[in-house]
Every structure is written in structure tokens, then in C-alpha cells.
């Protein structure tokens, strides 16, 4: 029978932050020494074997590989939605779902690519309603509408993106970025906990 790992002495961060955080797995990751070619194929980048999170997901390496290749194309591909806005969508979904770890990573990326921390700081400190102007407001509202249950995203949301000047290829990227963090958040939140580094 398996075993759950707990960290009674860990002080979880109690607020959203752009600081670097660590992540502690509740299920044992695979041993780095035990990884085979099949696992490395799932990790995609060899350096990901240093991450406890990815070595935990490597328990199903094929599914991890498909997840990682989806992630990379949605966030790193050229053209379409600017990277800063893809990352803002990721941070907004994470803020709403409550993934402090994911929000920290993608808030940092969004600031790095936009060179502006105003809206990201408002998002982290005050929540998704605090970003309500211009393109960033439209990105965050889309992220929220796609994340909330039950399903409520509709033609009015597309019309709002049209009014804000988003082209169809940008809308496709935005939908995928917001949807993807509904995948990522659920793994990070449910398989371990963040730690202040």
C-alpha cells in the first residue's frame, strides 16, 4: 500500500506573491536514479528530472509527455497572443482557483514579458475583479468566465474580446491558456503544497 507524505513543520504561504516558492509533493516522486528513457521521453526536457513535481507525474510518463507538449505549445509558440497576456491569463486562473504556487510563477513571467507589474500586482493583491481595464481587463475577464463552474462562457464574451481588439488567433490562444491552467492548477493544488523558499 502506498503512503502519503506530510510536512507538519511547513509554513505554507498565506497570500499571493511574486516571490519564488518551492513545492512539496504529498506522493513520492520517482527516484531520479530510477528514471528510464520512457520517463525522460515524458519529461520532454531532461532538466525537468530535477523537479519533484515532474518526477511525481512521471508515474504516468506518456500522459505527462502529452501534458507537457500541450503546455509548451500554448505558452511558448510564436505569433498570436503576446506572451505577457498568455501568462496573465494563467495567473488570473490560478488566482481564482486559489493556486498560490502557480500564480507566483506566471505572475513573474507576465511581468517579465510586459515590463509592467501594475495589473499583475492588483490581480495578486486584490483579486480578478481588480484588473478591469483595456486588454488586460479583457484577458482576466475571459480567464474568469472560462474557469467558473458551471459553464457560462458564451458569445457575449467573444463580443467583448472583439471590442477590445483581439483577433481570432489571439482568442484561440487565450482560450487555450485559460483552459490549460484549469488543468495545471488542479494537479499542483491536489498533489502537494507550496513552501516559502
Amino acid at each position: 500500500m502506498g503512503q502519503i507524505i506530510t510536512y507538519p513543520d511547513n509554513h505554507e504561504p498565506d497570500r499571493f506573491t511574486t516571490a519564488q516558492l518551492d513545492w512539496l509533493p504529498w506522493i513520492a516522486p520517482l527516484d531520479e536514479a530510477a528514471l528510464t528513457d520512457r520517463h525522460y521521453e515524458g519529461l520532454v526536457d531532461r532538466s525537468r528530472s530535477k523537479s519533484a513535481y515532474f518526477r511525481l507525474l512521471a508515474r504516468d510518463p506518456e500522459v505527462l509527455g502529452a501534458r507537457t507538449r500541450t503546455d509548451k505549445d500554448i505558452f511558448y509558440s510564436k505569433g498570436g497572443l503576446p506572451r505577457a497576456e498568455r501568462e496573465l491569463a494563467a495567473a488570473a486562473v490560478s488566482r481564482l482557483n486559489g493556486c498560490i504556487y502557480c500564480a507566483s510563477v506566471h505572475a513573474r513571467f507576465s511581468i517579465q514579458f510586459s515590463k509592467d507589474d501594475g495589473d499583475v500586482t492588483r490581480l495578486l493583491e486584490r483579486g480578478t475583479d481588480a484588473v478591469d481595464k483595456g486588454r488586460n481587463g479583457a484577458v482576466v475577464r475571459t480567464a474568469v468566465a472560462l474557469t467558473r463552474s458551471p459553464a457560462q462562457f458564451g458569445e457575449a464574451d467573444i463580443a467583448a474580446l472583439d471590442d477590445a481588439g483581439f483577433k481570432d488567433d489571439e482568442i484561440v490562444d487565450l482560450i487555450q491558456a485559460a483552459a490549460f491552467f484549469n488543468w495545471a492548477n488542479r494537479l499542483m493544488l491536489s498533489l502537494g503544497e507550496p513552501q516559502e523558499s
Binding site: 500500500m1 502506498g2 503512503q3 502519503i4 506530510t6 505554507e12 504561504p13 498565506d14 497570500r15 499571493f16 504529498w26 513520492a28 511525481l56 507525474l57 508515474r59 504516468d60 500522459v63 505527462l64 502529452a66 501534458r67 507538449r69 500541450t70 509548451k72 505549445d73 500554448i74 509558440s77 505569433g79 498570436g80 482557483n97 486559489g98 493556486c99 498560490i100 483579486g127 472560462l146 474557469t147 467558473r148 463552474s149 458551471p150 459553464a151 462562457f153 458564451g154 458569445e155 467573444i158 463580443a159 472583439d162 481570432d168 488567433d169 482568442i171 484561440v172 482560450i175 487555450q176 485559460a178 483552459a179 490549460f180 484549469n182 488543468w183 488542479r186 493544488l189 491536489s190 498533489l191
Partner: protein, 201 residues
């Protein structure tokens, strides 16, 4: 474009349309989402999670979110394998669907944002109806779908107690999380398709 993906079918993206072209630009995201679907819902080797369990969990995720095309797709898969279970899951989702995401933050300044909600427990009645393993999986599914920030090591321990192993928990988690992604892509693309059917961009 050959080999339409499930997302394209469910979102009714017209073949050859501008939207199809924009999605095809993200060829890895498109193909790898389809691969995830096949790996998780029609695995060559079931491994630690049985096929009917996979269908039941996916059907519950989709029905709780409620995007109609994806909900009907997964309900159909489950109905083909286990009709009684499909009725049971549909009824559970009708009574358990709620506004999400809700849940608690770590105690501190975010506590003012805590939102209460009604959890879904593996009660003795549900264990009798679905078996301990599936009842525990459905409870975990409800947690991840509607109040994922309430996740805890205790929630994973409950799965182990009900007969799940560590590899199985990873598959279950990926399944719930993947369908949560896929159904939102379908919801988003469906809205885009509907909008462009009226006023072509």
C-alpha cells in the same frame, strides 16, 4: 485537415474555417490534447485505473461543469459500458452541481475570500452503490472540479484507504484535470464558432 480531433468535433469547428486554421497553427497543442484524450480514455493498457472507472470520472467532471457537448460525449461513453452507472453519475451531478471554484485559503489575509460550499462525501450509501474505490474517486473528483483549493494530504489518504495506489492517484488526478481543460477549450471554441457564424470576422 485530416483526422478531426474530439475538441474540433465537440466545438463544431467548421472544416477549412478561419478558426480551424488558427487552431491548426497550434499543431502540438491540438495533437497532444487529442493524445491525452486517447491515453486517458482509451489506454492500450488500463494500468491502475479501469476503463469504466475512467469513463465514470470523466462523465462526472463533464456533468459538473455542464458544457453540453462534452457532457453528452462522456455520458455516452459511460452509458455504453455501464448504463446503470451512467444514470447514477448523471443524478449525482444534477444534485451536486454548484457554483465554483469555492473553498478555503490558508488561514491569514486571504481568509476573507474563503467561500463555503457543500462537499461530496463517500457516504456508506454511496460506497454501497458504487463500491469503495469508485465512491472515493468520485469524492476526489468533486473536490478537484469545484473546490480544488481545499485539497489536502488527507484527501489522498482517503483514496489509498479505498484501495487506490500512488500510480492510480496520478492517473486519476490527470484525468480530472485534463477533462477540466478539454471541456473549457470546447466551451471557448464553441462560443467563438457561434459568434463567427453570425458575423464572420
Amino acid at each position: 485537415m485530416s483526422n478531426r480531433t474530439l475538441i474540433e468535433t465537440l466545438a463544431r469547428i467548421p472544416e477549412g474555417s478561419a478558426i480551424a486554421g488558427a487552431y491548426a497553427q497550434r499543431s502540438d497543442a491540438r495533437a497532444q490534447a487529442e493524445l491525452s484524450y486517447r491515453l486517458l480514455l482509451s489506454p492500450q493498457d488500463e494500468g491502475p485505473v479501469g476503463l469504466t472507472e475512467r469513463y465514470a470520472v470523466a462523465a462526472f467532471v463533464a456533468a459538473l461543469y455542464g458544457e453540453p457537448a462534452t457532457r453528452d460525449h462522456y455520458a455516452g461513453l459511460l452509458r455504453g459500458a455501464a448504463p446503470d452507472l451512467a444514470d447514477g453519475i448523471a443524478a449525482e451531478a444534477r444534485s451536486a452541481a454548484a457554483s465554483g471554484p469555492w473553498g478555503h485559503f490558508p488561514a491569514g489575509p486571504l481568509s476573507v475570500e474563503d467561500q463555503p460550499g457543500t462537499g461530496w462525501e463517500a457516504t456508506p450509501e454511496r460506497v454501497a452503490q458504487y463500491g469503495a474505490r469508485l465512491a472515493a474517486a468520485l469524492a476526489h473528483t468533486h473536490l478537484l472540479v469545484l473546490h480544488p483549493r481545499d485539497s489536502s494530504p488527507e484527501a489522498l489518504a482517503a483514496l489509498l484507504t479505498a484501495g487506490w495506489d500512488e500510480d492510480g492517484i496520478v492517473v486519476l488526478s490527470q484525468l480530472v484535470a485534463f477533462v477540466s481543460f478539454q471541456i473549457r477549450v470546447v466551451a471557448g471554441f464553441s462560443a467563438l464558432v457561434a459568434a463567427r457564424a453570425k458575423t464572420p470576422a
